[in-house]
């Protein structure tokens, strides 16, 4: 196995073994998303009109999964901020390992936790009455898009984790930067119900495009170009965030 790959897996493993030991993190990737689904469905569900969908659950689930997956990267932000603070980055840099493995290992560990979140959310959805309305290959393609989108956002969070001074700050900066974007999108309410200024934002928001793609793939919502749009957006976000994170890592680490 090439060195970069084995080093990446070692780092990814390191980031994953901590999860079962950190009840707070485990709650954040499992119980918290479930709570959001339940609150939205039962508190807002009755008030939100979703023309073209059988019910609000079918509308909401793809949206809330996209939101959760985008936030899955917070583990990367938190972990990198910790590593910088605790001098662990120095330890890694003094070892004959591939340098890029630290970031690559972190972000790929998020893929595993994101898969866990997807599973938890889908099961929750099925229990409360969500139903897939699409062929199996579309459902699988949807999971692929989720993981891709989540991976791109892990790099955004990697950048955030490297820019801030503490793990606590990583958490709140990440939240402030990403949370509004997820709301000004088609994730929770139809874009048509927003004021026109917000509609303009929502229409070009990568969250809207990715959520629309998911709705098409999972419950047969109108497709347009959303599926390809979502893939392109993921690559664009990755292509911008990853080099920035890598260069920030180089700079911060050699201080």
């Amino acid at each position: 196995m090439p060195r970069i790959l084995s080093d990446m897996l070692i780092i990814a493993e390191r980031n994953l073994v901590r999860l079962p030991r950190s009840p707070d993190l485990l709650l954040a990737v499992t119980v918290q998303p479930v709570m959001f689904v339940l609150l939205f469905v039962y508190v807002f569900g009755g008030a939100i009109q979703t023309p073209g969908f059988d019910n609000y659950k079918d509308f909401l689930l793809p949206g809330i999964i996209v939101q959760n997956i985008a936030f899955g990267g917070f583990l990367t932000a938190l972990g990198l901020a910790e590593d910088m603070n605790k001098g662990l980055v120095d330890r890694f840099r003094s070892l004959p390992m591939a340098r890029s493995a630290v970031l690559a290992g972190r972000t790929s560990a998020d893929i595993v936790t994101n898969l866990l979140s997807i599973a938890v959310l889908v099961v929750t959805g099925l229990i409360i009455g969500f139903s897939f309305d699409a062929p199996l290959q579309n459902i699988i393609a949807g999971v692929g898009i989720l993981l891709l989108f989540g991976y791109a956002f892990s790099w955004v969070f990697a950048l955030i984790g490297l820019l801030v001074s503490s793990p606590e700050a990583a958490n709140s900066v990440g939240f402030i930067a990403v949370f509004p974007l997820t709301f000004i999108s088609s994730a929770f309410v139809p874009v048509e119900s927003m004021p026109s200024v917000l509609q303009t934002v929502a229409d070009v928001n990568p969250f809207t495009i990715t959520v629309d793609a998911m709705r098409h793939l999972w419950v047969g919502g109108p497709a347009g170009n959303a599926v390809w749009g979502a893939v392109v957006w993921s690559f664009v976000i990755f292509a911008i965030a990853a080099p920035l994170a890598v260069s920030r890592y180089r700079k911060a680490a050699s201080k």
Binding site: S22, D90, M97
Partner: protein
Amino acid sequence: MMSDMTTDKPPAIRVQGLMKSFGDLRAVDGVDFEVPAGTVLGLLGPNGAGKTTVVRMLTTLMTPDAGRVEVAGLDAVEQATELRSRIGLAGQYAAVDENLTGAENLTMVGRLYGMTRGAAKARGQELLEEFDLVEAAGRPASTYSGGMRRRLDLAAALVAKPEVLFLDEPTTGLDPRSRLDLWATVETLKAAGTTVLLTTQYLDEADRLADSIAVIDHGRLIAEGTSDELKDRVGGERLEVTLAEGADSDAAIEALLPMSDERPVSEDGVVRLQVRQRGGTLVEAVKRLGEAGLDVEDLELRRPTLDDVFLTLTGHAAEATEPEEATA
């Protein structure tokens, strides 16, 4: 330094014209030294002298602005990756993953050195025994005391049995027993042929472990040699006067000035000076201080220690943060 030992082997560390600035601050300002293979170099210097910066450049963590660094025959900039597999580093602050257990920390480091999982585990177990961490091996490092973390960090530096080992203030934060254990470890490593560069604030540590000592201040090398050579350089008997609470140390300096060729220095109510002779010195000092109306708590005449070397060369004491000083 120690040219008699360099006859057959090339030096393990060779540093020439090393420079590093942070903005306007010249943290390392033209440092040269060599460490013969299999010897221990003690890098001494007060806070902010540039010790850590030197260590970071020697261990490839930082690129020098100018100068050459060769470790184990490899250029620290051009051959950084190769070099990393031959050195071990325990930085000034313990770098352990708090979410992993002690054993997992060492296994991870071993694997990142390129060992198989099995080999890394076995090596980790050896080190856990050596550093008295067997009982805590299965607990996350977040539950470790400061001293345990420090020992785990040192163990991590030794995972790959490096030929050159860098220890940046390795015993800061260790209790006296752990400190002695660490000294024994360094001596064992040296006996096995490992070259060690250690920075320290504790002069007794340098005295005991280092074959040769380099003193740096403000990024410059201001002295180097064996501990005896440095003490000879400072020469003379030392007088140390502990003034009573509230006594004016400037007045004491003036009163004692005629007894020395250099201006006495004072710190925390203790005045130190180098005196010309042993005989009659104590009596004369008491008389002079008495005439100046100064109360004395304690008076001591002794041979120079590395502390005096430090004080004389840098103009201030080694700022060792002993617990009692920290609370003073």
